[in-house]
Protein backbone atom coordinates (compact mmCIF):
# COMPACT_ATOMS: atom_id res chain seq x y z
CA UNK A 1 0.00 0.00 0.00
CA UNK A 2 1.33 3.41 -0.94
CA UNK A 3 1.67 6.19 1.56
CA UNK A 4 -1.26 8.28 0.38
CA UNK A 5 -3.68 5.38 0.50
CA UNK A 6 -2.44 4.36 3.90
CA UNK A 7 -2.87 7.88 5.12
CA UNK A 8 -6.35 8.39 3.80
CA UNK A 9 -7.48 4.99 5.04
CA UNK A 10 -6.41 5.55 8.64
CA UNK A 11 -6.68 9.31 8.97
CA UNK A 12 -10.05 9.19 10.80
CA UNK A 13 -8.60 6.90 13.46
CA UNK A 14 -5.54 9.07 13.92
CA UNK A 15 -7.67 12.15 14.13
CA UNK A 16 -9.85 10.57 16.80
CA UNK A 17 -6.78 9.56 18.76
CA UNK A 18 -5.25 12.99 18.42
CA UNK A 19 -8.37 14.56 19.87
CA UNK A 20 -8.41 12.19 22.82
CA UNK A 21 -4.84 12.89 23.87
CA UNK A 22 -5.31 16.61 23.21
CA UNK A 23 -1.92 17.12 21.61
CA UNK A 24 -0.06 15.43 24.45
CA UNK A 25 -1.38 17.71 27.16
CA UNK A 26 -2.19 15.25 29.94
CA UNK A 27 -4.48 17.64 31.76
CA UNK A 28 -6.81 18.17 28.82
CA UNK A 29 -6.91 14.59 27.64
CA UNK A 30 -10.31 12.93 27.58
CA UNK A 31 -10.04 9.22 27.05
CA UNK A 32 -12.86 6.82 26.34
CA UNK A 33 -12.81 3.11 27.06
CA UNK A 34 -11.65 2.34 23.54
CA UNK A 35 -8.42 4.22 24.08
CA UNK A 36 -6.22 1.17 24.69
CA UNK A 37 -7.43 -0.47 21.49
CA UNK A 38 -6.88 2.74 19.56
CA UNK A 39 -3.41 2.98 21.02
CA UNK A 40 -2.52 -0.55 20.00
CA UNK A 41 -3.82 0.10 16.51
CA UNK A 42 -1.70 3.20 16.30
CA UNK A 43 1.40 1.32 17.43
CA UNK A 44 0.68 -1.17 14.71
CA UNK A 45 0.41 1.64 12.15
CA UNK A 46 3.68 3.13 13.29
CA UNK A 47 5.46 -0.19 12.92
CA UNK A 48 3.98 -0.61 9.44
CA UNK A 49 4.85 2.91 8.37
CA UNK A 50 8.45 2.33 9.41
CA UNK A 51 8.71 -1.03 7.81
CA UNK A 52 7.27 0.24 4.53
CA UNK A 53 9.57 3.26 4.50
CA UNK A 54 6.85 5.83 4.42
CA UNK A 55 7.95 9.42 4.49
CA UNK A 56 9.63 10.85 7.56
CA UNK A 57 6.83 13.34 8.15
CA UNK A 58 4.27 10.57 8.42
CA UNK A 59 6.46 8.37 10.63
CA UNK A 60 7.16 11.38 12.77
CA UNK A 61 3.52 12.23 13.15
CA UNK A 62 2.70 8.67 14.20
CA UNK A 63 5.68 8.59 16.54
CA UNK A 64 4.44 11.78 18.18
CA UNK A 65 0.94 10.37 18.58
CA UNK A 66 2.32 7.16 20.06
CA UNK A 67 4.40 9.16 22.52
CA UNK A 68 1.34 11.08 23.67
CA UNK A 69 -0.62 7.85 24.00
CA UNK A 70 2.25 6.16 25.82
CA UNK A 71 2.30 9.01 28.33
CA UNK A 72 -1.42 8.68 28.89
CA UNK A 73 -1.46 4.94 29.21
CA UNK A 74 1.52 4.62 31.53
CA UNK A 75 0.72 7.61 33.70
CA UNK A 76 0.71 7.09 37.44
CA UNK A 77 -1.46 8.65 40.06
CA UNK A 78 0.42 11.69 41.30
CA UNK A 79 -1.98 13.41 43.62
CA UNK A 80 -0.35 14.27 46.89
CA UNK A 81 -2.68 13.19 49.65
CA UNK A 82 -2.54 11.93 53.19
CA UNK A 83 -2.49 8.41 51.79
CA UNK A 84 0.69 9.15 49.87
CA UNK A 85 2.41 10.62 52.92
CA UNK A 86 1.50 7.60 55.03
CA UNK A 87 2.74 5.31 52.28
CA UNK A 88 6.01 7.23 52.03
CA UNK A 89 6.57 6.95 55.79
CA UNK A 90 5.84 3.23 55.71
CA UNK A 91 8.31 2.81 52.84
CA UNK A 92 10.82 4.80 54.85
CA UNK A 93 10.56 2.60 57.92
CA UNK A 94 10.75 -0.63 55.94
CA UNK A 95 13.76 0.51 53.92
CA UNK A 96 15.46 1.79 57.05
CA UNK A 97 15.26 -1.58 58.70
CA UNK A 98 16.76 -3.21 55.64
CA UNK A 99 19.59 -0.69 55.52
CA UNK A 100 20.92 -1.55 58.97
CA UNK A 101 24.56 -1.88 57.91
CA UNK A 102 24.64 1.53 56.23
CA UNK A 103 22.94 3.05 59.20
CA UNK A 104 25.44 1.63 61.66
CA UNK A 105 28.32 2.91 59.51
CA UNK A 106 26.73 6.35 59.33
CA UNK A 107 26.16 6.48 63.08
CA UNK A 108 29.77 5.51 63.75
CA UNK A 109 31.11 8.01 61.22
CA UNK A 110 29.14 10.74 62.90
CA UNK A 111 29.39 9.74 66.55
CA UNK A 112 33.03 8.64 66.85
CA UNK A 113 34.56 11.91 65.65
CA UNK A 114 32.01 13.79 67.75
CA UNK A 115 33.07 11.86 70.89
CA UNK A 116 36.80 12.04 70.17
CA UNK A 117 36.84 15.72 69.29
CA UNK A 118 34.32 16.46 72.03
CA UNK A 119 36.45 14.97 74.79
CA UNK A 120 39.61 16.47 73.31
CA UNK A 121 38.05 19.91 73.37
CA UNK A 122 36.70 19.33 76.84
CA UNK A 123 40.15 18.62 78.23
CA UNK A 124 41.97 21.19 76.14
CA UNK A 125 39.79 23.99 74.85
CA UNK A 126 42.49 25.19 72.46
CA UNK A 127 41.52 22.26 70.22
CA UNK A 128 38.40 24.22 69.33
CA UNK A 129 40.55 26.98 67.90
CA UNK A 130 42.32 24.63 65.56
CA UNK A 131 38.94 23.60 64.13
CA UNK A 132 37.11 26.91 64.09
CA UNK A 133 38.12 30.52 63.68
CA UNK A 134 38.28 32.62 66.88
CA UNK A 135 35.37 34.71 65.63
CA UNK A 136 33.26 31.58 65.20
CA UNK A 137 34.14 30.38 68.70
CA UNK A 138 33.28 33.74 70.19
CA UNK A 139 30.03 33.71 68.27
CA UNK A 140 29.03 30.30 69.59
CA UNK A 141 30.07 31.28 73.09
CA UNK A 142 27.86 34.34 73.07
CA UNK A 143 24.92 32.35 71.69
CA UNK A 144 24.78 30.02 74.65
CA UNK A 145 25.89 32.36 77.40
CA UNK A 146 23.48 31.70 80.28
CA UNK A 147 23.21 35.46 80.82
CA UNK A 148 21.38 35.79 77.54
CA UNK A 149 17.68 36.24 77.77
CA UNK A 150 17.14 34.05 74.78
CA UNK A 151 19.47 31.28 73.71
CA UNK A 152 20.34 29.91 70.36
CA UNK A 153 21.74 31.90 67.48
CA UNK A 154 21.52 35.69 67.67
CA UNK A 155 18.04 37.04 67.39
CA UNK A 156 17.98 40.70 68.24
CA UNK A 157 15.17 42.08 66.21
CA UNK A 158 14.28 38.90 64.45
CA UNK A 159 11.41 36.63 65.17
CA UNK A 160 11.14 32.91 65.54
CA UNK A 161 9.87 32.66 62.01
CA UNK A 162 13.11 34.01 60.62
CA UNK A 163 14.99 31.32 62.46
CA UNK A 164 12.51 28.74 61.22
CA UNK A 165 13.30 29.82 57.68
CA UNK A 166 17.00 29.80 58.43
CA UNK A 167 16.96 26.30 59.91
CA UNK A 168 14.95 24.99 57.01
CA UNK A 169 17.33 26.43 54.47
CA UNK A 170 20.53 25.59 56.26
CA UNK A 171 19.95 22.32 58.09
CA UNK A 172 17.84 20.57 55.50
CA UNK A 173 20.47 21.64 52.98
CA UNK A 174 23.13 19.75 54.99
CA UNK A 175 21.06 16.57 54.95
CA UNK A 176 20.37 16.87 51.22
CA UNK A 177 24.08 17.28 50.58
CA UNK A 178 24.86 14.25 52.71
CA UNK A 179 22.62 12.27 50.34
CA UNK A 180 23.77 13.85 47.08
CA UNK A 181 27.46 13.46 47.98
CA UNK A 182 26.93 9.71 47.91
CA UNK A 183 27.20 9.62 44.15
CA UNK A 184 30.93 10.28 44.37
CA UNK A 185 31.50 6.69 45.54
CA UNK A 186 30.06 7.65 48.92
CA UNK A 187 32.94 9.98 49.68
CA UNK A 188 30.70 13.06 49.82
CA UNK A 189 28.39 11.46 52.37
CA UNK A 190 31.28 10.28 54.53
CA UNK A 191 32.76 13.76 54.39
CA UNK A 192 29.53 15.50 55.41
CA UNK A 193 29.03 13.05 58.31
CA UNK A 194 32.61 13.38 59.54
CA UNK A 195 32.62 17.14 59.20
CA UNK A 196 29.38 17.62 61.09
CA UNK A 197 30.42 15.09 63.73
CA UNK A 198 33.68 16.94 64.33
CA UNK A 199 31.93 20.29 64.41
CA UNK A 200 29.25 19.13 66.82
CA UNK A 201 31.89 17.52 69.05
CA UNK A 202 34.01 20.66 69.12
CA UNK A 203 31.06 22.90 69.98
CA UNK A 204 29.72 20.54 72.64
CA UNK A 205 33.14 19.98 74.21
CA UNK A 206 33.98 23.65 74.24
CA UNK A 207 30.67 24.79 75.71
CA UNK A 208 30.66 22.06 78.37
CA UNK A 209 34.14 23.05 79.38
CA UNK A 210 33.10 26.71 79.49
CA UNK A 211 30.30 25.78 81.88
CA UNK A 212 27.41 26.49 79.53
CA UNK A 213 25.96 22.99 79.69
CA UNK A 214 22.73 24.10 81.26
CA UNK A 215 21.88 26.26 78.26
CA UNK A 216 23.45 24.17 75.52
CA UNK A 217 22.07 20.71 76.21
CA UNK A 218 18.46 21.69 76.86
CA UNK A 219 18.66 23.66 73.62
CA UNK A 220 19.94 20.86 71.41
CA UNK A 221 18.29 17.82 72.94
CA UNK A 222 14.79 18.52 71.63
CA UNK A 223 15.30 19.13 67.94
CA UNK A 224 18.54 17.11 67.93
CA UNK A 225 16.48 13.95 68.20
CA UNK A 226 15.01 14.67 64.79
CA UNK A 227 17.81 16.62 63.18
CA UNK A 228 20.83 14.48 64.04
CA UNK A 229 18.96 11.29 63.24
CA UNK A 230 17.86 12.73 59.91
CA UNK A 231 21.39 13.79 58.98
CA UNK A 232 22.72 10.35 59.85
CA UNK A 233 19.93 8.70 57.83
CA UNK A 234 20.66 10.95 54.85
CA UNK A 235 24.32 10.02 55.10
CA UNK A 236 23.35 6.35 55.19
CA UNK A 237 21.22 6.88 52.07
CA UNK A 238 24.15 8.53 50.35
CA UNK A 239 26.48 5.69 51.29
CA UNK A 240 23.96 3.21 49.94
CA UNK A 241 24.19 4.95 46.56
CA UNK A 242 27.97 5.11 46.77
CA UNK A 243 28.33 1.46 47.68
CA UNK A 244 26.23 0.44 44.68
CA UNK A 245 28.83 2.12 42.49
CA UNK A 246 31.76 0.48 44.28
CA UNK A 247 30.23 -2.98 44.37
CA UNK A 248 27.46 -3.26 41.77
CA UNK A 249 27.13 -7.03 42.18
CA UNK A 250 25.62 -8.70 39.15
CA UNK A 251 24.28 -5.48 37.63
CA UNK A 252 25.89 -2.95 35.37
CA UNK A 253 27.13 0.00 37.41
CA UNK A 254 24.53 2.37 36.02
CA UNK A 255 21.76 -0.10 36.72
CA UNK A 256 23.01 -0.78 40.24
CA UNK A 257 23.15 2.97 40.83
CA UNK A 258 19.57 3.42 39.68
CA UNK A 259 18.26 0.59 41.87
CA UNK A 260 20.16 1.83 44.92
CA UNK A 261 19.00 5.42 44.41
CA UNK A 262 15.38 4.29 44.15
CA UNK A 263 15.76 2.63 47.55
CA UNK A 264 17.79 5.40 49.12
CA UNK A 265 15.26 8.05 48.19
CA UNK A 266 12.74 6.32 50.46
CA UNK A 267 15.09 7.02 53.33
CA UNK A 268 15.05 10.63 52.24
CA UNK A 269 11.24 10.79 52.57
CA UNK A 270 11.58 10.11 56.28
CA UNK A 271 14.62 12.32 56.65
CA UNK A 272 12.81 15.25 55.03
CA UNK A 273 9.84 14.79 57.31
CA UNK A 274 12.06 14.66 60.39
CA UNK A 275 14.04 17.71 59.32
CA UNK A 276 10.86 19.68 58.94
CA UNK A 277 9.82 18.74 62.48
CA UNK A 278 13.34 19.59 63.68
CA UNK A 279 13.30 23.05 62.13
CA UNK A 280 9.93 23.72 63.70
CA UNK A 281 11.10 22.60 67.14
CA UNK A 282 14.40 24.44 66.91
CA UNK A 283 12.71 27.71 66.12
CA UNK A 284 9.70 27.58 68.39
CA UNK A 285 10.52 25.18 71.23
CA UNK A 286 14.26 24.77 71.82
CA UNK A 287 15.03 28.46 71.98
CA UNK A 288 12.44 29.31 74.58
CA UNK A 289 13.94 30.39 77.92
CA UNK A 290 10.66 30.52 79.79
CA UNK A 291 10.46 26.78 80.22
CA UNK A 292 12.35 25.07 83.08
CA UNK A 293 15.45 23.10 82.13
CA UNK A 294 14.10 19.87 83.60
CA UNK A 295 11.02 20.05 81.41
CA UNK A 296 13.06 20.66 78.26
CA UNK A 297 15.43 17.81 79.07
CA UNK A 298 12.67 15.34 79.78
CA UNK A 299 10.64 16.33 76.72
CA UNK A 300 13.84 16.10 74.68
CA UNK A 301 14.48 12.61 76.01
CA UNK A 302 10.90 11.78 75.10
CA UNK A 303 11.53 12.95 71.53
CA UNK A 304 14.58 10.69 71.29
CA UNK A 305 12.58 7.71 72.48
CA UNK A 306 9.79 8.59 70.05
CA UNK A 307 12.16 8.84 67.09
CA UNK A 308 13.99 5.61 67.93
CA UNK A 309 10.71 3.80 68.53
CA UNK A 310 9.29 5.07 65.25
CA UNK A 311 12.36 4.09 63.27
CA UNK A 312 13.08 0.70 64.75
CA UNK A 313 10.20 -0.66 66.79
CA UNK A 314 6.95 0.77 65.46
CA UNK A 315 4.66 -1.56 63.58
CA UNK A 316 4.02 0.92 60.78
CA UNK A 317 4.33 -0.71 57.43
CA UNK A 318 4.17 -4.25 58.77
CA UNK A 319 0.65 -4.86 57.61
CA UNK A 320 1.41 -3.55 54.17
CA UNK A 321 2.83 -5.61 51.42
CA UNK A 322 6.59 -5.31 51.16
CA UNK A 323 7.80 -2.56 48.88
Amino acid sequence: MRERDFESQHAPLWHRFEQQVAGGDARKAVLDEQFPQLYRQLCHHLAMARQRDYSEALVNRLNRLVMAGHHQLYRREQRLGLEMVARALAQFVITLRHARVYLICAVLLFLLPALVVGSATYFDHSVAYSLMSPAQVADIESMYDPDNRRIGPERDAETDLVMFGYYIKHNIGIAFRAFAGGIFLGIGSVWVLLFNGVFLGAVAGYLTQAGFSETFYPFVIGHGAFELTAIVISGAAGMMVGYALINPGRFRRVEALRLAAAKAVRLMYGAMFMLLVAAFLEAFWSSSTQLPVVLKLSVGAGFWLLVLWFCFFSSIGQRRESY
Binding site: R64, R75, A180
Partner: protein, 231 residues
Protein backbone atom coordinates in the same frame (compact mmCIF):
# COMPACT_ATOMS: atom_id res chain seq x y z
CA UNK B 1 24.79 8.59 9.79
CA UNK B 2 27.37 7.50 12.32
CA UNK B 3 25.82 6.10 15.46
CA UNK B 4 28.51 7.80 17.50
CA UNK B 5 27.06 11.22 16.91
CA UNK B 6 23.43 10.21 16.71
CA UNK B 7 21.34 11.49 19.61
CA UNK B 8 18.37 9.27 18.91
CA UNK B 9 17.42 6.79 21.56
CA UNK B 10 15.08 3.95 21.06
CA UNK B 11 12.83 2.06 23.47
CA UNK B 12 10.84 -1.06 22.81
CA UNK B 13 7.39 -0.68 24.30
CA UNK B 14 5.18 -3.49 25.59
CA UNK B 15 3.20 -3.11 22.36
CA UNK B 16 6.22 -4.47 20.52
CA UNK B 17 7.24 -1.37 18.64
CA UNK B 18 10.47 0.55 18.79
CA UNK B 19 9.81 4.10 19.37
CA UNK B 20 12.34 6.79 18.94
CA UNK B 21 13.05 10.12 20.58
CA UNK B 22 16.04 12.38 20.43
CA UNK B 23 17.94 13.09 23.63
CA UNK B 24 18.72 16.73 24.31
CA UNK B 25 22.35 17.76 24.60
CA UNK B 26 24.01 20.20 26.97
CA UNK B 27 23.35 23.43 25.07
CA UNK B 28 19.53 23.46 25.00
CA UNK B 29 19.54 22.20 28.58
CA UNK B 30 21.83 24.98 29.74
CA UNK B 31 19.60 27.51 28.00
CA UNK B 32 16.53 25.99 29.65
CA UNK B 33 18.32 26.16 33.00
CA UNK B 34 19.16 29.81 32.47
CA UNK B 35 15.54 30.62 31.68
CA UNK B 36 14.45 28.85 34.87
CA UNK B 37 17.14 30.68 36.79
CA UNK B 38 15.80 33.95 35.42
CA UNK B 39 12.29 33.13 36.60
CA UNK B 40 13.55 32.19 40.05
CA UNK B 41 15.61 35.36 40.35
CA UNK B 42 12.57 37.36 39.35
CA UNK B 43 10.54 35.72 42.11
CA UNK B 44 13.30 36.41 44.66
CA UNK B 45 13.52 40.00 43.56
CA UNK B 46 9.79 40.64 43.74
CA UNK B 47 9.50 38.85 47.08
CA UNK B 48 12.47 40.58 48.66
CA UNK B 49 11.06 43.96 47.68
CA UNK B 50 7.62 42.99 48.96
CA UNK B 51 8.92 41.50 52.22
CA UNK B 52 11.30 44.34 52.94
CA UNK B 53 8.33 46.23 54.35
CA UNK B 54 7.19 43.50 56.73
CA UNK B 55 10.54 43.02 58.47
CA UNK B 56 11.42 39.82 60.34
CA UNK B 57 8.29 37.94 59.34
CA UNK B 58 9.06 38.64 55.71
CA UNK B 59 12.67 37.52 56.03
CA UNK B 60 11.62 34.17 57.45
CA UNK B 61 9.10 33.74 54.69
CA UNK B 62 11.69 34.67 52.08
CA UNK B 63 14.15 32.11 53.45
CA UNK B 64 11.57 29.37 53.25
CA UNK B 65 10.61 30.33 49.71
CA UNK B 66 14.24 30.39 48.55
CA UNK B 67 14.77 26.97 50.07
CA UNK B 68 11.70 25.56 48.35
CA UNK B 69 12.53 27.14 45.01
CA UNK B 70 16.12 25.98 45.14
CA UNK B 71 15.37 22.33 45.77
CA UNK B 72 11.77 21.72 44.72
CA UNK B 73 11.00 24.09 41.85
CA UNK B 74 11.98 21.50 39.23
CA UNK B 75 10.29 18.67 41.15
CA UNK B 76 6.94 20.43 41.08
CA UNK B 77 7.04 21.17 37.38
CA UNK B 78 8.41 17.80 36.38
CA UNK B 79 5.76 15.88 38.29
CA UNK B 80 2.75 18.09 37.70
CA UNK B 81 3.55 19.70 34.35
CA UNK B 82 4.56 16.65 32.35
CA UNK B 83 8.27 16.86 32.85
CA UNK B 84 8.59 20.45 31.76
CA UNK B 85 9.83 23.36 33.80
CA UNK B 86 9.04 26.74 32.22
CA UNK B 87 12.55 26.85 30.76
CA UNK B 88 12.24 23.36 29.33
CA UNK B 89 8.86 24.28 27.87
CA UNK B 90 10.41 27.17 26.01
CA UNK B 91 13.20 24.95 24.71
CA UNK B 92 10.66 22.19 23.97
CA UNK B 93 12.42 19.68 26.19
CA UNK B 94 10.87 17.32 28.64
CA UNK B 95 12.07 14.91 31.32
CA UNK B 96 10.96 11.29 31.05
CA UNK B 97 12.00 7.99 32.56
CA UNK B 98 14.43 6.00 30.44
CA UNK B 99 11.51 3.91 29.17
CA UNK B 100 9.80 7.14 28.02
CA UNK B 101 7.04 6.87 30.59
CA UNK B 102 6.12 10.11 32.39
CA UNK B 103 8.39 10.95 35.29
CA UNK B 104 7.03 10.32 38.79
CA UNK B 105 7.80 11.83 42.16
CA UNK B 106 10.64 9.56 43.32
CA UNK B 107 12.87 9.85 40.21
CA UNK B 108 12.21 13.55 40.06
CA UNK B 109 13.25 13.94 43.70
CA UNK B 110 16.41 11.91 43.12
CA UNK B 111 17.51 13.86 40.08
CA UNK B 112 16.91 17.17 41.76
CA UNK B 113 18.56 16.28 45.07
CA UNK B 114 21.58 15.16 43.08
CA UNK B 115 21.59 18.50 41.31
CA UNK B 116 23.93 19.64 44.07
CA UNK B 117 26.42 16.89 43.17
CA UNK B 118 26.11 17.84 39.51
CA UNK B 119 26.89 21.44 40.36
CA UNK B 120 30.26 20.50 41.91
CA UNK B 121 32.93 21.75 41.78
CA UNK B 122 31.64 24.81 39.95
CA UNK B 123 28.85 25.68 37.55
CA UNK B 124 27.61 22.15 36.88
CA UNK B 125 31.03 20.88 35.79
CA UNK B 126 30.37 17.36 37.12
CA UNK B 127 26.98 17.29 35.42
CA UNK B 128 28.41 18.53 32.16
CA UNK B 129 31.18 15.94 32.20
CA UNK B 130 28.72 13.18 32.94
CA UNK B 131 26.45 14.43 30.13
CA UNK B 132 29.24 14.40 27.60
CA UNK B 133 30.55 10.98 28.68
CA UNK B 134 27.25 9.14 28.94
CA UNK B 135 25.67 8.04 25.70
CA UNK B 136 22.29 9.66 26.23
CA UNK B 137 23.37 13.01 27.67
CA UNK B 138 22.52 12.09 31.26
CA UNK B 139 23.89 14.10 34.13
CA UNK B 140 24.67 12.31 37.41
CA UNK B 141 21.16 12.93 38.70
CA UNK B 142 19.67 11.48 35.54
CA UNK B 143 21.85 8.38 35.80
CA UNK B 144 20.79 7.76 39.39
CA UNK B 145 17.13 8.49 38.79
CA UNK B 146 16.93 6.65 35.48
CA UNK B 147 15.65 9.68 33.60
CA UNK B 148 16.33 11.33 30.28
CA UNK B 149 15.80 14.77 28.84
CA UNK B 150 14.34 14.48 25.37
CA UNK B 151 12.99 16.80 22.74
CA UNK B 152 9.28 16.89 22.81
CA UNK B 153 8.48 16.31 19.15
CA UNK B 154 6.80 19.29 17.75
CA UNK B 155 4.37 18.71 14.95
CA UNK B 156 6.46 18.37 11.82
CA UNK B 157 4.95 20.17 8.93
CA UNK B 158 2.80 17.71 7.11
CA UNK B 159 3.89 17.10 3.61
CA UNK B 160 2.52 19.89 1.50
CA UNK B 161 1.71 18.14 -1.66
CA UNK B 162 1.79 20.57 -4.50
CA UNK B 163 -0.93 19.34 -6.72
CA UNK B 164 0.77 20.25 -9.88
CA UNK B 165 -0.36 18.19 -12.77
CA UNK B 166 2.54 15.79 -12.51
CA UNK B 167 2.26 12.38 -14.00
CA UNK B 168 3.61 9.77 -11.55
CA UNK B 169 6.32 7.57 -12.97
CA UNK B 170 7.57 4.20 -11.79
CA UNK B 171 11.36 4.20 -11.39
CA UNK B 172 13.17 2.23 -14.04
CA UNK B 173 15.60 0.68 -11.54
CA UNK B 174 14.80 -0.73 -8.08
CA UNK B 175 15.50 1.89 -5.40
CA UNK B 176 17.24 1.30 -2.09
CA UNK B 177 15.64 2.32 1.16
CA UNK B 178 17.84 5.42 1.47
CA UNK B 179 17.06 6.50 -2.04
CA UNK B 180 13.32 6.16 -1.53
CA UNK B 181 13.50 8.14 1.71
CA UNK B 182 15.68 10.78 0.13
CA UNK B 183 13.36 11.31 -2.78
CA UNK B 184 10.27 11.42 -0.56
CA UNK B 185 11.94 14.00 1.69
CA UNK B 186 12.86 16.14 -1.28
CA UNK B 187 9.22 16.10 -2.36
CA UNK B 188 8.09 17.31 1.01
CA UNK B 189 10.66 20.04 1.29
CA UNK B 190 10.37 21.22 -2.27
CA UNK B 191 8.96 24.56 -1.15
CA UNK B 192 11.83 25.21 1.28
CA UNK B 193 14.71 24.41 -1.06
CA UNK B 194 15.68 26.72 -3.87
CA UNK B 195 15.10 25.57 -7.40
CA UNK B 196 18.79 25.51 -8.30
CA UNK B 197 19.66 23.47 -5.21
CA UNK B 198 16.96 21.01 -6.14
CA UNK B 199 18.47 20.65 -9.56
CA UNK B 200 21.84 20.14 -7.96
CA UNK B 201 20.45 17.40 -5.75
CA UNK B 202 18.65 15.81 -8.63
CA UNK B 203 21.93 15.64 -10.56
CA UNK B 204 23.25 13.25 -7.96
CA UNK B 205 20.50 10.88 -8.87
CA UNK B 206 21.29 10.79 -12.53
CA UNK B 207 21.72 6.98 -12.48
CA UNK B 208 18.06 6.74 -11.48
CA UNK B 209 16.51 9.41 -13.62
CA UNK B 210 18.87 9.13 -16.54
CA UNK B 211 18.65 12.89 -17.05
CA UNK B 212 20.48 15.97 -15.81
CA UNK B 213 19.40 19.50 -14.97
CA UNK B 214 15.78 20.63 -15.13
CA UNK B 215 14.67 17.53 -16.95
CA UNK B 216 16.27 15.32 -14.30
CA UNK B 217 14.46 17.17 -11.50
CA UNK B 218 11.12 16.92 -13.29
CA UNK B 219 11.59 13.21 -13.72
CA UNK B 220 12.64 12.86 -10.09
CA UNK B 221 9.46 14.59 -8.98
CA UNK B 222 7.37 12.24 -11.04
CA UNK B 223 9.13 9.31 -9.38
CA UNK B 224 8.58 10.96 -6.02
CA UNK B 225 4.86 11.21 -6.68
CA UNK B 226 4.76 7.61 -7.64
CA UNK B 227 6.57 6.66 -4.43
CA UNK B 228 4.15 8.64 -2.31
CA UNK B 229 1.31 6.88 -3.99
CA UNK B 230 -0.15 9.35 -6.44
CA UNK B 231 -2.15 7.75 -9.22
Amino acid sequence: MSEFIDNQCCVETPEGIDFVQSAAGPVPRILAYLIDLGWRLLVYLVLSIATAFIGGLGTGFLLIVTFLLEWFYPVYFEVYRQGQTPGKRVMQLCVVNTDFTPITFAPSLIRNLLRWADFLPLFYLAGLLSMVLSDRFQRLGDLAAGTLVIYRDQALRQARMVDEPIQPLAPAVPLTRDERQGIALLMQRADQVSESRQVELANWLEPITGDRGEAGLRKLKRIGYWLLGAK
